[in-house]
């Protein structure tokens, strides 16, 4: 059926070598990964080499019949190899744009103050609790969006969102009702320091359909407590662990992303943290560990932070992921990078907005004090007054079709939108993964997948 047609590598496919002689293929549009075993990889080495450069010009790839790749025809059905006569970029760009706009995402800051003063925090805490008129505007806005979008997602953020629990509970009730009226799907998550996430609050949040929790632990007790302190300087480790235990003692369906920020000094205590977490988390699949290097994020202590340099940070992250999974923890977020849209920042999406407690509309949750990020104002009526020129700075990267992104195999994952803030500052969209990092991460993700699913093991 396919033998008369000519095929070529999808522009979204990239090949990398694994150490055992096999070749891994990633297709960023399909979010797919394949492993070509060593013998087959050797037999098709020339063809696979063609797919190894991150950037490839269409003229540089060869065309071949299905008969010429008899051992690889599966790759046609899986989208790694495509017919030559389709306008792949045009088709994929349309699909990705439609998908990007199929969800309305609101990141809501019900309280912009915080009960913690983490040493690396970049927030100013200048704006406090959400005013009733702003909350009324949020309620009306979401009711409208529930009629326009099939999927509405709400991320509660701050400051510390649990300082305004009552707002979360009452607005959630309204959002759920609005989505029920229109048939829109509703999903919600919260980023919280978990100090106030007691069993009672947790149960109320679950009832408010908040079922994703991002909670941070910065190493073992002493390390964590010296970094994530209450306003009065007291540690938070024991309270967080107690609350975590309370959550995991339930049979409820939810997920926790335990974010672990690492710097140079706290690495030594990571093993003790793993051991302590093993006692609390065990093999509970509701918990995923996520490692991030501490950065100089704009806070007052930046000059004193002992951060890892950029090169060692990535290697450290991979070794922490390896250690975590070898101890039975889930670290599946490493696969996110390989999904279509997986490296697109919410700030770059046309249908995503951050709503401040005073009704200020932002695109990004880092640069709250950057004027380019103050893109509008939410009115009590639910109308958003948007500065189109500023909005466009974030959502229209401009050179998706030109420049380095036009020939990049990773383009469907990042869509030139990995970090619009960095793009604005540097004049071009940043690459979310350096070539070596891409290879290391893909090899790790593929091996982890095989280990997790022994029936797929090579």
């Amino acid at each position: 059926m396919v033998s008369d047609r000519l095929f070529q590598w999808s522009r979204y496919t990239r090949a990398v070598r694994d150490g055992d002689g096999s070749v891994l293929l990633h297709n960023s549009f399909m979010g797919a990964v394949a492993r070509v075993p060593p013998e087959t990889a050797a037999a098709y080495s020339g063809l696979l080499e063609e797919a190894m450069p991150k950037n490839r010009e269409p003229a540089s790839v060869s065309r071949f019949s299905a008969d010429a790749i008899a051992d690889l025809t599966e790759l046609i059905r899986q989208g790694f190899i495509v017919p030559c006569n389709i306008s792949e970029t045009s088709l994929a760009t349309k699909v990705l744009a439609r998908e990007r706009q199929s969800v309305f995402n609101a990141i809501i800051l019900p309280h912009e103050d915080c009960n913690c003063r983490c040493v690396y925090c970049y927030e100013t805490f200048a704006r406090g609790r959400m005013k009733p008129l702003v909350a009324a505007g949020v309620e009306r806005l979401i009711a409208r969006k529930a009629a326009d979008y099939p999927l509405v997602t709400v991320s509660w953020f701050g400051g510390e969102p649990l300082l305004a629990k009552d707002i979360i509970f009452s607005l959630s009730e309204s959002f759920i009702a609005a989505c029920a009226r229109t048939g829109a799907t509703y999903r919600s998550g919260i980023t919280t320091n978990a100090v106030q996430l007691t069993p009672t609050v947790f149960a109320r949040l679950l009832a408010a359909r908040v079922d994703f929790f991002q909670i941070t632990l910065d190493g073992d007790r002493a390390d964590h407590d010296s970094r994530r302190k209450l306003r009065g300087g007291q540690g938070t480790f024991d309270r967080i662990l107690t609350n975590l235990r309370g959550m995991l003692d339930t049979e409820a369906t939810f997920s926790i992303r335990l974010r672990v920020n690492f710097d140079r000094p706290n690495l030594a205590g990571m093993n003790r943290m793993f051991e302590r977490l093993s006692e609390t988390v065990g093999d509970d699949s509701r918990v995923t560990l996520d490692f991030h290097p501490v950065g100089q994020w704009g806070g007052p202590n930046d000059s004193t932070l002992e951060i890892c340099d950029a090169e060692s940070a990535f290697d450290t992250k991979l070794s922490l992921v390896n250690e975590a999974v070898s101890r039975g923890f889930s670290a599946d977020q490493i696969r996110d990078a390989f999904q279509p849209h997986g490296s697109v920042c919410y700030a770059g999406k046309e249908s995503s907005v951050v709503i401040g407690s005073d009704g200020t509309l932002y695109k990004c949750t880092v640069a709250f004090e950057d004027d380019r990020n103050r893109v509008g104002q939410l009115l009590a009526s639910g109308d958003m007054i948007i500065d189109d020129a500023k909005w466009d700075l974030w959502t229209n990267p401009g050179n998706f079709a030109d420049g380095k992104c036009s020939s990049c195999s990773y383009a469907a994952s990042c869509q030139s939108r990995a970090c619009p803030l960095a793009a604005m500052n540097s004049g071009e969209p940043p690459c979310p993964l350096e070539p070596d990092e891409f290879t290391d991460l893909l090899v790790l993700a593929a091996r982890r997948h095989n280990e997790a699913q022994p029936e797929h093991a090579a």
Partner: protein, 80 residues
């Protein structure tokens, strides 16, 4: 999706399940597991989990610390 498409998608997914070359496919898995396109999109593009990183960046790029990204940090005038 029409039945022909569902059949094609299911056949493609079967190749993954049978463990030949493809290890995973987010798009195919979302389609097959969800059974319809809309639910598949819910699975694939929902940013709830990704939007929550408190460094402000949802991408696993560590954009705020990467040298390649020129050390972007919060341009916060209040903090000098």
């Amino acid at each position: 999706m029409d039945s022909k498409k569902i059949e094609a998608v299911a056949a493609a997914k079967k190749q993954i399940v049978e463990g030949q070359l493809t290890i995973w496919s987010t798009r195919l898995s979302a389609l097959v597991d969800a059974g319809d396109l809309r639910a598949a999109l819910d699975t694939m593009v929902s940013p709830v989990e990704l939007a929550s990183n408190n460094c402000g960046c949802n991408a696993p790029c560590d954009a705020l610390t990467s040298g390649a990204l020129q050390g972007v940090s919060n341009p916060n005038p209040a903090r000098g």
